[in-house]
């Protein structure tokens, strides 16, 4: 045995101690019964990963009793960052968030779908009643009957109309898993449909990265990473070299917990401990601002580009931008400069010009511009509210332009995320591991591409179903975003292809996490859709519109394999967690009720349809895990058997670590980006060629675009308030909305004793409407009407109200789209119109509403 192996063996011995069933202490023995001692001895611990972080699951008598943060033993080598006379080290544990801690409550919630269910009134063969979707009851059926019904419906639809008549959509982000994580095209269900001959793809593009993929990517590339730049070593770079960290239009403390929890929260504390200035530019005093910002600059959401333009104006006027860098590293600066100085339209983009547009005082803009120019700034903006709203591509292009003018890639000058996708902690770059987007792609022997070119898009799906034909351009497909996608034309139905007749879905996120709920649901009621089949974990509101519900199990009830915080194939890992931890997700409990894994469900359907061998290539769940293990770096460190037994493996941090800070190579080389010129394109010839220079919604250079239905438009006369809809804090999209422990904090009790979703409103706006703290209010616009409880606060800019999306949708009449939603699901109020003529993507974050005090009719 080599000395290296010896070290690992020693490590495992220590780890076993940590997780061996514990022995009761003296105190505990005082009045403990023999039965209780037996119970404790039967306790089992499993290491797993949830969408809320890495945890140890305790199981007693076949039930999960709690989840604890996974500890990192003292002898595992960690990274440390030396900066400004201090040494920063991560805590010796994983940092799961409230989702991770509340997982048990979720898994066992009474809303779990435990048996296959069939809607009363639905009949196979397109002979059922459709006008009672949303209202009718369900009856329990056997798995045999469920598999028969679904497989025969798939065959019938395929034979009658062709494969294009079937569409499939996964949920936003699924429960954790690589082989069971069903959130990408590399997973079992799309493969199943492709083996059968393909399906009409239900394109979502993106709804969290809208502005990045449609804007920033045209300036600096990074098409493969949702157009966010590299994350490598941005943490150490900021701690060592930045003078200021600017948080712009995002709330990383709240919004970037996905699949790792609070791994990055210590980093933001370190920024302050290192004596680095911080500022938050946002419509609200969000959680990040509460703990981490020296100062809050309130801004009208979606109007951020005006402020950014004015900052650059100040730099150009005062000569405080990096002129040499601009000369050597960019193309098209002159065009941007002319726009900023007003040579193009006669309007210099001064702070005085920007102030009324963005709602920030000119003096504050001058001050910030000069502070920014005074020293290196790390700009924390990747993944952000402002990219999900009005002309999000202008905000992201402005963010890239700002840092470009200060020498992007120079020590301390970077674009950072410090959240999901882009990490920033030091990590071993030689390690390759699967993550949630990987699926079975690396190990499948035969790939099956989709033979059906027809698509529907998340922002036009109801129009496709209810009033075809529909034509559109762009919107991007799948997970990789290449420039040409924005210029590709689509139509539905495509000549020679059937309209959609059958919908297969996974989970419920598509309804309430996407825009314009009423419009979306209207198509669920269409008799054109003969069969809707959903793999359901919980009876979410939209599940009631299904014809057949197939009970899926949670991630505590199946095996899987991945690395903590790892995006996998198309979201390159860049230090998204403090430790690189490979986890064998061991099944901790039996499947609840008759539920089974999504993979098992589709394996069974494949057996019925005679394609099991093609689908599985003979692999069981365990076989896939084993193959992925051998395709990963992990097999160089530990044997499969040992890994499976142990449940996890923590990669030790390399001894001679050499940091490679993001974009430093570009700073040093001045080229090599994935753009036509290889440089940062402050002026994009690609956009100029396609849209011409005078397109009002997208110019070849970053520009402030006034929202055509915003606060300065005629729409504001009727609906004067901007409703700002960020990612939710207390639920993961719609998941965990039913967890009572979280609802306790996420909801407000109305005077009638009912739970309401809070709506943040400023004192000025509340006073003008006679609204007081805790009042039930209605928020409405042309899309719909919801009830909420008013939280009157100084934490939101007047003129703006804030609600998280994903709340339980409780329409008065589920059959009448547009009827009052008492649950306060904010997406009832958001438009499904594209973000711009260029970005055929969701625009969830910014819309206009009016709010009034609610008086229930007597």
């Amino acid at each position: 045995m080599s000395s290296k192996t010896n070290n690992y063996a020693k490590t495992f011995a220590v780890m076993s101690d940590v997780f061996s069933s514990f022995s009761p202490g003296d105190n505990l023995l005082r009045s403990i019964t023999p039965r209780e001692i037996k119970e404790i001895q039967q306790e089992k611990k499993y290491v797993t990963n949830t969408f809320g972080g890495g945890v140890v699951v305790t199981v007693k008598n076949g039930r999960v009793t709690k989840t604890d943060p996974l500890p990192i033993p003292n002898d595992i080598r960690q990274y440390q960052i030396k900066a400004r006379g201090k040494v920063f080290k991560p805590p010796r544990k994983c940092l799961p968030d409230m989702w991770g801690h509340g997982y048990r409550r979720w898994v066992y919630d009474t809303a779990r779908v435990r048996y296959p269910l069939k809607r009363v009134g639905w009949e196979p063969g397109g002979k059922g009643k459709y006008d009672n979707r949303g209202l009718s009851e369900f009856i329990r059926i056997s798995w045999d009957e469920a598999f028969d019904l679904v497989s025969s419906e798939i065959s019938r639809i395929k034979e009658t109309y062709g494969n294009a008549a079937i569409t499939y959509k996964d949920t936003f982000h699924t429960t954790w898993g690589t082989i069971h994580g069903m959130g990408t095209e590399y997973t079992i269900i799309p493969r199943f449909l492709n083996i059968l001959g393909g399906f009409t793809e239900y394109v979502i593009g993106t709804s969290s990265w809208v502005g990045w993929v449609s804007g920033a990517s045209f300036m600096y590339g990074f098409w493969w990473a949702n157009a966010t730049s590299e994350g490598h070593d941005t943490l150490a770079d900021a701690l060592q070299n930045s003078r200021m960290v600017v948080y712009w239009a995002l709330d990383p403390t709240k919004s970037t917990r996905m699949y790792h929890g609070h791994e990055m929260e210590p980093w933001r504390h370190w920024v302050r401990e290192a004596g680095i200035k911080t500022v938050m530019i946002s419509p609200e005093v969000n959680d990040t601002a509460v703990a981490h910002a020296d100062r809050w600059i309130p801004i009208y959401p979606g109007h951020d580009a005006a402020m950014a333009a004015a900052i650059m104006y100040v730099w150009i006027k005062e000569g405080t931008y990096d002129k040499d860098y601009v000369k050597t590293h960019t193309v098209g600066f002159e065009k941007l400069r002319d726009y900023l100085l007003g040579k193009e339209d006669g309007i210099p983009k001064t702070p005085e010009w920007a102030a009324p547009l963005c709602g920030v005082a000119a003096e504050s803009i001058y001050g910030l511009a000069r502070e920014w120019a005074a020293g290196p700034v790390s700009l924390n903006c990747q993944l952000g509210g402002a990219c999900r709203g009005w002309y999000g591509h202008e905000w992201t292009r402005m963010m890239v332009a700002l840092q470009t003018l200060q020498g992007l890639g120079k020590p301390g000058v970077n674009l950072v995320s410090w959240g999901w996708a882009n990490g920033g902690a030091p990590f071993d770059k030689s390690i390759h591991m699967p993550g949630y987007t990987t699926g079975i792609k690396p190990v499948e022997i035969k790939a099956y591409p989709n033979a059906i070119p027809q698509k529907v898009h998340a922002i036009n799906v109801s129009d496709c179903i209810l009033k075809p034909p529909v034509k559109w351009r762009g919107g991007t497909t799948g997970a990789t975003y290449w420039g040409e996608e924005f210029f590709r034309n689509y139509s539905y139905p495509m000549p020679g292809y059937s309209e959609v007749k059958m919908v297969l879905r996974l989970g419920g996120g598509q309804t309430l996490s996407y825009s314009n709920v009423n419009w979306r649901v209207s198509s669920y009621l269409s008799p054109k859709i003969e069969t809707i089949v959903i793999n359901a974990l919980f009876m979410e509101p939209c599940m009631r519109y299904a014809d057949i519900l197939l009970p899926a199990c949670s991630d505590f009830e199946r095996n899987d394999f991945s690395m903590l915080g790892c995006g996998g194939l198309y979201i390159p890992y860049s230090g998204s967690a403090n430790h690189q931890i490979a986890i064998y997700h061991k099944k901790a409990i039996d499947c609840l009720g008759q539920s089974m894994s999504d993979m098992e469900i589709y394996y069974n359907l494949a057996r019925k349809l005679g394609i099991y061998q093609e689908l599985s290539e003979g692999n069981t769940e365990e076989d896939w895990i084993k193959k992925l293990f051998y395709a990963s770096s992990l097999c160089k460190f530990i044997s499969y058997e040992e890994f499976k037994k142990k449940g996890y493996y923590i990669f030790p941090f390399p001894e001679n670590y050499k940091p490679t800070p993001a974009l430093r190579w570009f700073y040093e080389e001045g080229g090599g980006l994935c753009t036509p010129s290889g440089k940062i394109e402050l002026y994009s010839q690609v956009l100029a060629d396609f849209y011409a220079e005078d397109n009002p919604e997208i110019a070849p250079y970053p520009k402030y675009v006034e929202p055509k239905d915003g606060r300065n438009s005629p729409v504001a006369k009727k609906y004067p308030l901007i409703i700002f809809v960020p990612h939710p804090k207390f639920r993961f999209h719609t998941m965990q909305e039913n967890v009572s422990w979280l609802r306790k904090h996420s909801k407000m009790k109305g005077p009638d004793g009912q739970e309401y979703e809070p709506l943040w409103i400023s004192k000025a706006d509340a006073d003008a409407r006679g609204i007081k703290q805790g009042d039930i209010v209605t928020a409405f616009n042309d899309k719909g009407k919801i009830l909420a409880a008013a939280h009157v606060t100084g934490r939101i800019k007047p003129g703006v109200v804030r609600m998280f999306y994903g709340a339980e949708w409780k329409p008065d009449d589920p059959r009448t789209p547009g009827s009052l939603d008492r649950g306060g699901s904010a997406n009832v109020l958001t438009t499904n119109e594209p973000a711009s003529c260029h970005a055929y993507l969701h625009r969830i974050a910014h819309n206009m509403v009016e709010v009034r005090k609610w008086e229930a009719k007597k």
């Binding site: 409230m98 504390h269 959680d287 020296d294 502070e371 934490r795």
Partner: protein, 283 residues
């Protein structure tokens, strides 16, 4: 060994991990002899409040986690009629023995009112009074309490009492409501206090002025409070009195000194906004 907690609430980012971890630890789980299961939603053994002071655009949020203060002189023990039902453990924790707690002997449930911090709850299902146990069952295992372990921000500093008390003193921490005189074991940094704040900027460049000396005097005498503006030019002077009049003096090298003579503390978090300091003429 006795334990205490120092709570640096200024680090709290209101993530609720502590609160939900407490739920996960205790709901449906019993840890004899210390506790019977916590009910699903009714009780919060640790509570996280966001106290908002100040006015837009200078709203100030004080996140305050509260739990049983595990007082040295607890009000609950004093009023409990059942001997030994509430006791002090050797760790300093105040424990309600779930077996000895007999509400039929004390129909008025005096401990609920006897605790001035109102951290004791009554469980209607198991008919006992319940509250935070300082996770003694975890301490027995050599683990920190669940809330402490769950915090990603190191808000909680948990440890041996004398060390914690020493650090608390050094950092100017105070207990919550010392006027209750129950000698709590929880010390806080960042409790709400009547505070005058401002943002000092250069009158010409509008850039932050860090390091400026800020002094405030009660117009009717008393010791002046002083501080310095931070790296972003902000100052915060806590510990003032509401509705009192103060004089504020700002001085910084290279700038003309500035005095604001009539600052009245109208609200608990009074922010003066941008205060412009003018450069002193060069000699």
């Amino acid at each position: 060994m006795k334990y205490a907690i120092l709570m640096d609430a200024t680090r709290c980012s209101i993530c609720f991990s502590c609160q939900v971890a407490c739920k996960d630890e205790f709901v449906g789980n019993k840890y004899p002899p210390y506790s019977y299961p916590q009910p699903d939603v009714e009780q919060e053994w640790i509570k996280l409040e966001e106290i908002e002071k100040g006015k837009f655009p200078y709203a100030k949020v004080y996140p305050i986690p509260t739990l049983c203060m595990h007082c040295e002189n607890p009000g609950c023990i004093e009023v409990c009629p059942v001997t030994g039902a509430i006791y002090k453990s050797k760790h300093g924790a105040t424990i309600i023995d779930p077996v000895k707690c007999k509400p039929e002997k004390c129909l008025t449930k005096p401990c609920l009112k006897g605790c001035p911090y109102q951290v004791i709850f009554f469980n209607n299902d198991s008919s006992i009074a319940q509250k935070c146990t300082l996770c003694l069952h975890r301490l027995d295992e050599g683990q920190e309490p669940a809330c402490v372990n769950a915090c990603p921000s190191n808000v909680f500093i948990f440890g041996e009492e004398s060390k914690i008390v020493k650090e608390a003193k050094q950092r100017g921490a105070t207990t919550l409501h010392p006027e209750y005189k129950t000698k709590p074991r929880l010390y806080y940094i960042g409790l709400p206090s009547v505070t005058l704040a401002g943002h000092i900027i250069d009158s010409k460049t509008f850039m932050d002025v860090p390091g400026a000396a800020v002094t405030i005097e009660n117009k009717r005498g008393g010791t002046p409070t002083s501080g310095k503006s931070d790296i972003s030019g902000n100052f915060n002077l806590p510990g003032l009195e509401l509705h009192k009049k103060y004089a504020l003096k700002i001085a910084h090298k290279g700038y003309k000194p500035l005095t604001l003579d009539n600052v009245t503390m109208d609200i608990e978090y009074q922010h003066l906004g941008e205060i412009k300091l003018a450069r002193a003429p060069k000699k």
